[in-house]
Amino acid sequence: MALDENTVLEIGRHYRFQWEPAQQAHVLLYPEGMVKLPGSAGEIMKRVNGAATVADIVADLEHAFPGADLKGDVIEFLEHAHGKGWIRAKQG
């Protein structure tokens, strides 16, 4: 599903996103399971905070990693994450 640029995103219900020192990576935890989100996936997910819109996340990443054209990849990942239920449009 295509995500509107003005949609505010938050982490999905029953998921928890955190940094794991033992894995040296960000992970997403859910009932009886874990997804490892190394590198750019973690960088994108850590900006999903219930306040930033899709456009904010892209802008912040482009600021943090200047010179790269990230927009297409970021939106593709966010749509993938949204499809999986890892993130959702902020509720109420």
Partner: protein, 386 residues
């Protein structure tokens, strides 16, 4: 910590810490996987012991924490442990029958940061009858289901299937639907602990299994995405073994009520291995260095047919405890595998299950999991019975 340029030859960190907080349980399920001699074990760990275990497990890298038992609600310090689990960054799962869950407790769990609750439908025949006549058990489950939903947990219902209840799978699924379960696990009994003692009474026939699967599939089509249903067949009906625990000492660490650290719930039955107690050792040493946790890591311990088997990295030779229970030797291939020279032990049990009643030689009395039976089974000589 690892230093740059120095590769430590160590196991991967455990991902799962299962805290079997107590063997106390208000129920007496005939399929319980708990050790049959639990009533003879020593004192339960204290709150302080558990807090230390949680901290050490987290330092090792465990992310998933299961509170189990017995019935974990029998521990009145569960609220304390839940809070500490959240503070440490675990994703915590409560595995419960729901007996003993009330609003005050679930509110404290939510507040403390418990992430997930799995409610089992603990059918013993008496409770099944209870349910079929819509009496007490169902009322209890309805109360628990309401609380679970009210506190915004997903409603996950686990039902253990066996010969005596599998023909009721339609009613069980309808019950799950009435409880508005979002996930239903129809898990056939695995034959360990009490279930192994009662195996001939519990193993369903092939026909029963097929019928139950058909009913489940039809139900799935009707409810669609509203309810996700998993159906797990008993491994006795497979011809390749399960990848037990994803490999010995690979991801899973159990700590028992009396403090023993084990690579799986059943491992304390294995002869010749001593498992460390968390009262005496740090989890780091236990996981990385203790002989018990290294006994069946990797594949150096394997014998034929596993050693040269192309599938050994897929199933790790199956379950060491099942190999021991059935063949008397834990390093043998799990006899569920049709490459095992002992596979006939499994097919014989399956064959016996095809007769309309439990086999004539089967023990006529089913053993309920209670303290009295546990003490009497503990006195029995510990030889494997095939």
């Amino acid at each position: 910590m690892e230093k740059a340029g120095f590769v430590q030859n160590r196991a991967n960190p455990p991902l799962w810490l299962l805290a079997e907080l107590t063997y106390k349980c208000p129920l007496h399920c005939v399929f319980c996987y708990n050790p049959v001699d639990y009533a003879t074990y020593g004192a339960e760990l204290s709150t302080g012991d558990w807090l230390r275990v949680l901290r050490q497990g987290r330092e090792l890298g465990a992310t998933q924490l299961g509170f189990s038992g017995g019935e974990p609600l029998m521990r009145d310090d569960l609220e304390t442990l839940v809070c500490e689990a959240r503070r440490l960054g675990y994703y915590s799962n409560l595995i419960t029958s729901g007996v003993g869950l009330n609003e005050q407790r679930i509110a404290a769990f939510k507040e403390g940061g418990l992430d997930h609750i799995q409610v089992s439908f603990q059918d013993s025949t008496r409770e099944m009858n209870d349910f079929l006549s819509s009496t007490r058990t169902f009322e209890l489950k309805r109360k628990v289901a309401k609380l679970v939903k009210k506190y915004d947990y997903p409603m996950v219902l686990n039902v253990v299937l066996h010969r005596l209840n599998i023909d009721h799978v339609q009613q069980i699924l309808e019950m799950a639907e009435q409880l508005e379960a979002e996930y239903v696990e129809l898990a056939n009994t695995q034959y360990y602990g009490w279930a192994y003692v009662n195996r001939d009474q519990l193993l369903p026939s092939r026909e029963q299994l097929q019928r139950a699967e058909e009913i489940t599939n039809r139900f799935r089509e009707r409810v669609g995405n509203r309810m996700k249903i998993y159906f797990v067949v008993p491994d006795y009906y497979e011809n390749r073994p399960k990848a037990c625990m994803n490999g010995w000492g690979a991801v899973f660490l159990t700590v028992t009520a009396d403090g023993l650290a084990l690579p799986c719930h059943e491992a304390r039955m294995l002869p010749g291995l001593t498992f460390p107690n968390v009262r005496e050792h740090e989890l780091g040493w236990i996981w990385n260095d203790s002989p018990g946790f290294n006994a069946y890591r990797g594949d150096a311990w394997m014998k034929e047919p596993c050693r040269s088997c192309p599938e050994k990295e897929k199933d790790y030779g199956g379950c060491r405890c099942q190999a021991y229970m059935l063949t008397g030797e834990a390093a043998n291939a799990d006899p569920v595998c049709d490459k095992s020279p002992y596979h006939k032990l499994v097919t014989d049990a399956v064959e016996r299950a095809q007769s309309p009643r439990p086999h004539a030689e089967a023990k006529p009395v089913i053993l309920f999991r209670d303290d009295k039976n546990s003490r009497s089974l503990a006195g029995r000589e510990k030889t494997p019975v095939a």
